[in-house]
């Protein structure tokens, strides 16, 4: 062996030492690696043994190289030993109680109304609808007049409507329903129209267990050639079955009156809790009333400049809180705006 061979052997051994030390996963493995790197059959011992065969002038250099190798290995072994030791301490002797928690703030929750709203939006998107939006402060035209609600209609009374101090008296109000979005959509688009409009609506009521000045509705509007009441009923039934994830849900329609639809009907679905047998949720009727529906009144089409002989349409609407209340047995509407974090975290 020449000096150059000896130093080459040691350089190679250093690289191997780094790998061996870094991959040692425990103190025991590290001890074994150290024995191989500096023990009796190690490269260091091998080179040391060969020194006496070298020319005398080369022997000090070779000796120093072996010493440097030993020092380097000792330092990286010690560093690794320290790492392993502190890891062991930190983890309580290698065992972690994973039930203790985590580092991050736990995930929060979407409001229940938002969850219901997204669910409904997604169902209607699946049926090919778009989501329409409109302002929460509305004028008389969009909230009442264009919807065929005449000036003396009871819905316009101060008891029901929150007016704001803009424009003339009783000219601007917080929308009492999402139906004005129908008008805005038809004013800005040409048919065919297939939209749903979810959003906040307002009534002049003081917050208590059963009343809230603010709640959410969702409105559906379809305008096309030849749409019929059968299309309306079929759409509602399809949506109700997706909403309750139950293909056996049936729908029931009863004649009703709304100024903006004719014919109009109240819509109910068979109770998903008892299958229509009658239970507490459905007040023993077997049916759950969800909202109102009907064919768009020709006067509404006239208000937005559509020809009622060419276009027919249907509309329906319902309360989002109501759907959540039915589904989870919530009996106080106030709960939805109190924002008690226990309520929020439950859903």
């Amino acid at each position: 062996m020449k000096l150059s061979d000896a130093t080459a052997r040691l350089e190679e051994a250093v690289a191997q030492a780094h790998d061996a030390v870094a991959t040692a996963g425990s103190v025991e493995e590290l001890d074994a690696a150290e024995r191989q790197l500096v023990g009796k059959r190690s490269p260091a011992a091998e080179v040391n043994e060969a020194i006496k065969e070298l020319p005398a002038e080369d022997r000090p250099a070779a000796g120093q190289a072996v010493g440097a190798y030993r020092t380097h290995v000792a330092s990286i072994v010690e560093a690794r030993r320290e790492e392993l030791r502190s890891a062991a301490t930190e983890s309580g002797g290698g065992r972690l109680d994973l039930t203790l928690g985590g580092h991050a703030r736990p995930r929060g929750h979407l409001h229940l109304v938002t969850q219901v709203q997204r669910e409904l939006e997604d169902i209607f998107v699946g049926l090919g609808y778009r989501i329409a939006e409109g302002p929460e402060v509305e004028d008389d035209w969009h909230n009442f007049e264009a919807l065929n609600i005449p000036p003396a209609h009871p819905a316009r009374s101060m008891q029901d409507t929150l007016y704001v101090e803009l424009g003339a008296e009783e000219q601007v109000m917080l929308r009492t329903h999402t139906s004005p979005v129908q008008i805005r959509t038809m004013e800005t688009q040409t048919p065919p129209i297939y939209v749903v409009a979810p959003g906040r609506t307002y009534r002049n009521e003081t917050l208590d267990a059963r009343h809230s000045p603010v709640f959410h509705q969702m409105e559906c509007l379809a305008v096309d050639r030849g749409l019929t009441m059968a299309d309306l009923f079929g759409t509602i039934e399809a949506f109700a079955r997706r909403l309750f994830d139950d293909e056996s849900v049936r729908t029931r329609f009863r004649s009703d009156f709304f100024p903006y639809t004719e014919p109009s009907a109240e819509l109910a679905v068979s109770c998903v809790f008892c299958g229509g047998e009658g239970c507490r949720v459905c007040s023993r009727t077997g049916w759950i009333e969800l909202g109102g529906c009907g064919m768009v009144d020709p006067n509404v089409f006239a208000a937005v400049g559509y020809d009622p002989e060419e276009w027919q349409g249907f509309a329906f609407g319902f309360g989002l809180e109501r759907i959540a209340m039915i589904r989870y047995g919530i009996d106080e509407i106030r709960t939805f705006v109190e924002n008690d974090i226990r309520f929020l975290a439950r859903y």
Binding site: H103, R105, A152, L162, P192
Partner: protein, 801 residues
């Protein structure tokens, strides 16, 4: 309205089971809210006579009542004030049952045993009267002792409580309900023609003058002699079952006809009408009238009044009679009014006067102008039967322009086109005729003529609805239309609003829904702007008198609610509209601006022990949450600009800038706001204009191949003025070496006396990497030099090691 089945059967022989009748009414749109069977739960209650009343030894308000009940005598304890000897009363003995499932037992009341009880009208399920024990003699003076009160009081009946939609005034009466049921069951409707004792030789002497024929198209006045007294049992029973209180035979008959035929009637005491005449005119401004309810009303020129011949107001037309001409026990002759008033006029007056009556509710929905004479005759017929009315003269009937029934074109194809049905023209006709609608023609050339009691039938579509009601929605099919010209999808902004909420949820915040109605003071104290405040015109509470201009105040209130419930660690956000009145620049705009904001408030602490340490929230938590929003939207260059922000603690807040425009604030919420809104500090949060964020430039996402070459990382520490934000220094570093800087991270910040006053040290780790080669030591040294130069020059910084 309440419709007793026994009364309905006077006009149609419907004999279907109660459930089928209810189902029919529901299908027809006369919604059944409740079905009352007043006698069903009543068992064993009998007629008794009070023999003696004596005081209870131990209670001031109780009496001991001895009664005779046909099967002996006994004693009960009674709390009612109206018991007197001789009175005929309902007696419920031990073992009797009352509505609600109550079964009577013998029990001691204040030490005295009561053998059963005496009942009020309400306890028998007969109306709401609970002021005293029911006096059976007022209903049936000749009732036999021991007789079952169900028979005596006519309680064996079914009463439908119906909710009638406002478009159907015709259905607000017994005949109207009977007509619908007759059509549905095919039983036929028979409304007998009233038999009236008219003596043509009698002169009425009454003159009727209508000054406002537009407001009052028809006025019928009929004089009749009467003998005022209580109504007989059958009239009282019917009124009570229909939800009205019996008053006297004359008044009861006007109410009876109102309930039966939807024609409001009014009886004036004819002796109190000066000049035996009627003038229908508009009120004079500030004219006054005391109405039957004893209230002095001030009228205006829009109100229609019924006056006597001397033009003295005696009634507010169609709404309520006046006190002066009210029928009393002394009345011997009445003037019976049967009139038709224009709907909107009545609706406006009733609204303005805040006075709604059974009459106004019907007139403002629309009564039958052609039915006036028949209804008046029905009242005279009843007066003759029960109020001693003998011969009457002919009525005075002013009806200058009789109503014209509209003729409406009806296409069978339109009916089928709207309903999605396949009806023949004869089926269409057959469904309409039983409702009193005349139909002629065939196919698409039908002409329908609705009756005058159906003001809601004016257009073809109204008739389509009638057909739908008659055939029933259950017979209409179910088809699902698919839009052919659009794909269902959320818009980009709709999707991104979802992403923002999801990001905040992921960051540990929960979504709140707060009331957008707030008190202006709440906004002010929380630093929200109020110069463009939108005020509510008719708030129920001062707390709801304005619309929010910021969301944070509402979130703080929700935090306070939680803290008051012992829930101190709260992290909430909300996405919603805020409201800003239109600016003067946009004068033509009526509606406020409604930007969508996203806001968050975090309070209390974050609990992570023992894995990490518990700590109170600080402004950095708010920044984290805001960063989650920036990340969700991939914003290109959102900036935090330190500075004073209203509603935030000085020195602990920053403005949020996107695309060079102010978009909101983040930081520690002001102690003043917390104190005023009862929030225990610390509370931190942010509020930004989400619309503005959505419009802001997004990060460039063109693909760049990740460089395979090794990085070179250097650490640089600078001493700079305390006011220089770390982010600005980082920006300088980034731009100094442009494309070769892969990452800049602050890892240390400190101040010390050694640095000098107003100075701080900021240390950065800068990672360089070249896209196409390994950086040499010389390259790195050169880059390091560029970085140092740039920072020193731009920020008067000194390099520290």
């Amino acid at each position: 309205m309440k419709a007793p089945l026994s009364w309905i059967r006077e006009f149609t022989p419907v004999d279907a089971p109660v459930e089928e009748i209810a189902a029919a009414l529901n299908q027809l749109g006369l919604e059944v809210e409740a079905i009352g069977e007043p006698g069903r739960e009543l068992g064993g209650v009998v007629v008794a006579r009070i023999l003696d009343v004596s005081p209870h030894p131990d209670a001031d308000k109780l009496t001991l009542v001895d009664v005779e009940h046909g099967d002996g005598q006994t004693r009960v304890v009674c709390g009612a004030p109206n018991v007197v000897a001789g009175m005929l009363v309902p007696y419920a003995p031990v073992g009797a049952t009352l509505p609600g499932g109550l079964r009577l037992e013998r029990r001691k009341i204040r030490g005295v045993t009561s053998d059963g009880m005496l009942c009020s009208a309400r306890e028998l399920g007969l109306g709401d009267d609970h002021a005293g024990i029911l006096d059976i003699a007022t209903v049936e003076p000749s009732a036999a002792l021991g007789a079952d009160v169900r028979d005596v009081l006519g309680l064996d009946d079914t009463v439908f409580d119906l909710s009638i939609t406002p478009n159907r005034p015709d259905a607000m009466c017994i005949v109207g309900v009977a007509r619908e049921l007759a059509a549905h069951f095919g039983d036929g409707l028979e409304v007998p023609v009233p038999q009236v004792p008219v003596d043509p030789a009698l002169a009425t002497g009454i003159r009727v003058t209508i000054d406002e024929p537009g407001r009052c198209p028809r006025y019928l006045a009929w004089s009749a002699p009467v003998s005022v007294g209580p109504s007989p049992a059958w009239v009282q029973q019917r009124l009570v079952k229909a939800g009205m209180r019996p008053i006297s035979n004359v008044v009861d008959i006007t109410n009876y006809v109102l309930l039966e035929r939807n024609q409001p009637l009014h009886a004036f005491d004819l002796d109190r009408l000066a000049g035996r005449g009627i003038v229908v005119r508009c009120a004079r401004s500030s004219e006054r009238l005391r109405t039957l309810d004893g209230v002095e009303r001030t009228l205006d020129g829009e109100d229609l009044v019924i006056c006597d011949a001397e033009s003295q107001p005696q009634a507010i037309a169609g709404i309520m009679g006046g006190g002066d001409s009210e029928v009393s026990d002394a009345t011997t002759e009445i003037l019976l009014e049967a009139a038709h008033f224009e709907r909107m006029g009545i609706a406006r007056s009733a609204k303005r006067l805040k006075l709604r009556s059974e009459a106004s509710a019907r007139f403002e929905r629309g009564t039958d102008p052609d039915g006036v004479a028949q209804s008046a005759a029905r009242a005279i017929e009843l007066l003759a039967a029960i109020a001693g009315t003998s011969a009457v003269p002919k009525p005075v009937d002013e009806y200058p322009q009789p109503a014209v029934r509209p003729k409406i074109r009806l296409r069978t194809s339109k009916v089928n086109g709207v309903l999605g049905a396949q009806l023949s023209d004869s089926e269409v006709t057959a469904s309409l005729v039983p409702l009193g609608i005349d139909v002629e023609g065939t196919g698409d050339e039908l002409v329908a003529t609705p009756p005058t009691f159906r003001p809601d039938l004016e257009r073809e579509i109204d008739l389509v609805e009638e057909v739908a009601r008659r055939i029933g929605f259950a017979s209409i099919g179910r088809t699902v239309p698919k839009p052919r010209e659009q794909v269902g999808a959320l818009t980009r902004h709709q999707l991104e609003r979802r992403l923002v909420a999801d990001a905040l949820v992921g960051a540990g915040l929960s979504e709140a829904v707060t009331l957008p109605l707030v008190a202006p003071g709440t906004l002010e104290v929380a630093g929200a702007p109020t110069e463009r405040l939108v005020r509510v015109a008719n708030p129920l509470r001062a707390e709801d008198s304005a619309l929010r201009t910021r969301i944070v105040p509402g979130l703080l209130q929700s935090v306070a609610t939680n803290q008051a419930r012992g829930l101190g660690d709260v992290a909430l956000f909300e996405v919603g509209h805020v409201f800003l009145a239109p600016t003067t620049k946009k004068k033509q705009r009526l509606l406020p601006d409604e930007p969508t904001h996203v806001a968050a408030v975090l309070a209390g602490g974050s609990r992570r022990a023992p894995v990490d340490v518990d700590r109170a929230v600080d402004a950095y938590d708010a920044v984290d949450a805001l960063r989650a929003v920036f990340d969700a939207l991939e914003l290109a260059a959102p900036r935090l600009v330190p500075g004073e922000r209203p509603g935030f603690e000085p020195g602990r807040a920053a403005g949020v800038e996107v695309d060079g425009v102010d978009a909101g604030s983040v930081g520690e919420l002001s102690e003043a706001a917390c104190a005023a809104l009862l929030v225990t500090p610390p509370a931190v949060g942010f509020e930004v204009d989400l619309d503005r964020l959505l419009e802001a430039p997004r990060r460039d996402r063109t693909f760049v191949s990740p460089s395979p070459y090794p990085p070179a990382t250097i650490d640089l520490a600078f001493v700079v003025d305390d006011a220089v934000p770390a982010s600005v220094l980082a920006d300088t570093l980034r731009s100094a070496a442009a494309d070769l800087v892969e990452d800049v991270r602050v890892f240390d910040e400190f101040t010390s006396d050694a640095l000098g006053p107003g100075r701080k040290s900021l240390a950065f780790a800068v990672r360089f990497r070249s896209p196409d080669c390994t950086l040499t030591d010389a390259d790195v040294a050169e880059l390091r030099g560029r970085c140092i130069d740039a920072v020193v020059r731009a920020h008067q910084a000194e390099l520290r090691g």
